[in-house]
Amino acid sequence: MTQTTLPPTEKTQPVSAPRGSISDRSRAERKLGWLLAGPAFVVMLLVTAYPIVQAVYYSLFNYRLTDPDNRSFEGLGNYWVILTDGVWWQAILVTVIITVVTVAVELVLGFALALVMAKALSSIRPVVRAAILIPYAVITVVSAFAWQFAFRIDTGFVNSWFAWLPGVSDTTDWFGGQASSLFVICLAEIWKTTPFISLLLLAGLAQVPDVLQEAAKVDGATWWQRMWRVTIPNMKAAIMVALLFRTLDAFRIFDSIFIMTAGANNTESVSFLAYRQTISRVEIGLGSAVSVLLFLSVVLIAFLFIKGFKVDLAQARGER
C-alpha cells in the first residue's frame, strides 16, 4: 500500500549522471543509509523487543516474585486463568467504553471546533489555537487531580454549581459508582485531548480544495451534502490519523484512572490491571500474560485500522 507514494529513490538520482557511477553511488548511498538509520533501529529493537519477548516468556510460568523457588512451567495456563476470569473482561469492557466514548465525543467536538476556527477571522485564530492548546500541554497528572478535585464530594464545586440538573445534588458521590466515575474520567480525557484533535482536523480542513466547495455550491448542494460529499472525503487522511492515534492512546489509558479512582468501583482499565498484577501483586506470570494480551489487543487495533481503513501515513503526506 505504501508503494502508491512517490518512490523516493527516483528523486535522489540526478538524471544526467553517467550510467556507471549510478550503481556505484547508489550502492554507497544505500550503505550510508543503513549506517545512518542503523543505530536508531538497534536501540528500538533492544528497548522494545526485549521486554515484550521477555514478557511472553514469563507469561508461560507460574511465578511470584515473593516466592521465586516455586517457579513452574504452566504453558498457556495463565492465559486460560485470565480469559476465564471476570476481572479481565471487566477491564476490557471499561477500556472499550472509555475508548469509544472519548474518541467519538472528541471527534465530533473537535470537528465542530475546527469548523468554527476555520470560519473565524484569521486574526484571532492563532490566539484561540494557543489557548485551546493549554489543556493538551497541562501534564496528565495535574489535569487528573484537577478534575478529581472538582468532582469530589468533600471539596468539589461541581455539585453546588450543577445542583439544578436532575440527579445532581450536594450528596452526589461521583467517585462512588462505576458509571459516574467513568463519566468523570471520560470528561477529563475529552477536555484534555479535544484540542489536539481539533487542530489536526483544522489542518485537514485546510487541505480541502476550495474550488470543489464552490463547484458543489454552484450545483446546488446543501451545506450538509457538501459536508459529507466534499469536505469529509477530502480530509480523510487527517480524520484517520486522529482516529488511529487517539484510539491507541485511549486504549492504553493509565494515568487518569491511577489518580482519580485507582481502579476502585470497577474502573480498572487493561493497562491498570496489568500494572496492578505485575507491580503491586508481583504475580509475574499472570501479570505478564495480561501484558501480552494487552499488547496483542493494541496490535490488533492498529492492524485493523491500518489495513481495514487503508490508513497510509506515508501516502497521506504525499497527497498534500
Partner: protein, 297 residues
C-alpha cells in the same frame, strides 16, 4: 471519491480564468469568531482558575465559589518550595530536567540521521523500517514494564535516572523519526542535487541546504520529546524511588499529603506544568504537523 481527491490543491486559489480569486470573507465571521473565543475560553478556564488560586492565600482559595478579587500572595509557592515546611521539590525538578533534556538530546542524535536516511537518502525497504518505528510508538508501555523492572532490579539500575533516560529515549525515538522525516521531506530535492553536483560533501550539504529548512522542525521535535518525557508518570513511578524521582511523581505525593491546602497544590501543579506549557507554546506552530507524524501539515 478518488476523482475528488485527484484535484490538485494548487488550483484552489485561482478561478478558471487564472485570476487570483478574492479570499471569501465569511458572512458569519464575527459571530463564529465570538463562538471560537467562547470555546477557547471554556477550555482554558480550569487552568486559569488553577493559576489564580495558586496566588491566593489558603483562606481565599477555600471559598466556594472561588473568590476572584482576593489579594494575591506567593504563599502557596513558598510552601511548595519548602520555605517553612521542609519539603524540597528541587531534586525532583532537577531529575525531570535531566531525564527530559538528556533523553531529548540522545533522541535527536539518533533520529536525525535515521530520518535523513529514510527521507532524503532512502534505504531499501524504507517503508518497512518506518512502520517498524511507528509500531513501537503504539506499544502499551505497561506491557514491557515488568521485564524492565526486573532487569533494573537485576542490574542495580532501579531508582537511577539513567534508566529513565534510556527508556524515554526509546519512548520518543519513533515519534521523533517520523516527525523529522516529515520535516525533512520539505527540503527541496533540486537544491540537494545542485549541492551534490557542485561536489559538496555530506556535512556541507547538511549544513548549507538541509539545516536552514529543517531547524524549526528540529526545534519542534525536541520540544515535543521534552513534553512527553516531562509528563511521563508510569515508568517514573514504577522505576524510581527517593533518589531519582521525577517531578510528576513528587507532585503525586505532594498532592496526596497536602491535598487539603488548595493554594499550595495549585502552586505545585502550576510550577511543575510551567516548563511544559512554555514548551508547548513555543512549539505550537509545528505541533500539529509533528504530532500527526507529518500526516497533516
Amino acid at each position: 471519491m478518488s476523482s475528488i481527491t485527484d484535484v490538485a490543491p494548487v488550483a484552489a486559489t485561482r478561478t478558471p480564468e487564472g485570476r487570483p480569486r478574492r479570499t471569501r470573507k465569511p458572512r458569519s465571521g464575527p459571530l463564529l469568531g465570538l463562538l471560537a473565543w467562547v470555546i477557547g475560553f471554556l477550555f482554558v478556564v480550569p487552568v486559569l482558575w488553577m493559576v489564580l488560586t495558586s496566588f491566593h492565600s489558603e483562606e481565599d482559595a477555600a471559598t466556594n465559589p472561588p473568590s476572584l478579587a482576593a489579594p494575591l500572595t506567593l504563599e502557596g509557592y513558598r510552601e511548595f518550595f519548602g520555605v517553612g515546611t521542609g519539603t524540597n521539590p528541587w531534586p525532583s525538578l532537577l531529575n525531570s530536567l535531566t531525564a527530559s533534556v538528556v533523553s531529548t538530546v540522545i533522541v535527536l542524535l539518533l533520529a536525525l540521521p535515521a530520518a535523513y536516511a529514510l527521507s532524503i537518502k532512502p534505504v531499501r525497504k524504507w517503508s518497512d523500517v518506518l512502520f517498524f518505528f511507528l509500531s513501537t510508538r503504539m506499544l502499551p508501555i505497561v506491557a514491557g514494564l515488568l521485564p524492565i523492572y526486573l532487569f533494573a532490579q537485576w542490574s542495580g539500575l532501579l531508582d537511577n535516572i539513567w534508566l529513565l533516560i534510556v527508556l524515554y529515549t526509546a519512548m520518543n525515538l519513533p515519534i521523533a523519526v517520523w516527525m523529522m522525516r516529515s520535516f525533512l521531506a520539505e527540503v527541496p530535492v533540486e537544491m540537494l542535487e545542485a549541492a551534490q553536483m557542485d561536489g559538496a560533501g555530506l556535512l556541507r550539504t547538511l549544513r548549507a541546504v538541509v539545516a536552514p529548512v529543517v531547524l524549526p522542525g528540529i526545534a519542534a521535535t525536541s520540544l515535543i520529546c521534552f513534553i512527553f518525557s516531562w509528563n511521563e508518570l508510569l515508568l517514573a513511578r514504577t522505576l524510581t524511588g527517593t533518589v531519582a524521582q521525577t517531578a510528576p511523581v513528587y507532585l503525586t505525593g505532594f498532592v496526596t499529603s497536602q491535598g487539603l491546602f488548595l493554594a499550595q497544590v495549585c502552586a505545585a501543579a502550576f510550577a511543575v506544568s510551567l516548563p511544559v506549557l512554555i514548551a508547548g507554546f513555543a512549539a505550537q506552530d509545528k505541533l500539529v504537523q509533528g504530532l500527526s507524524l507529518g500526516a497533516v501539515k
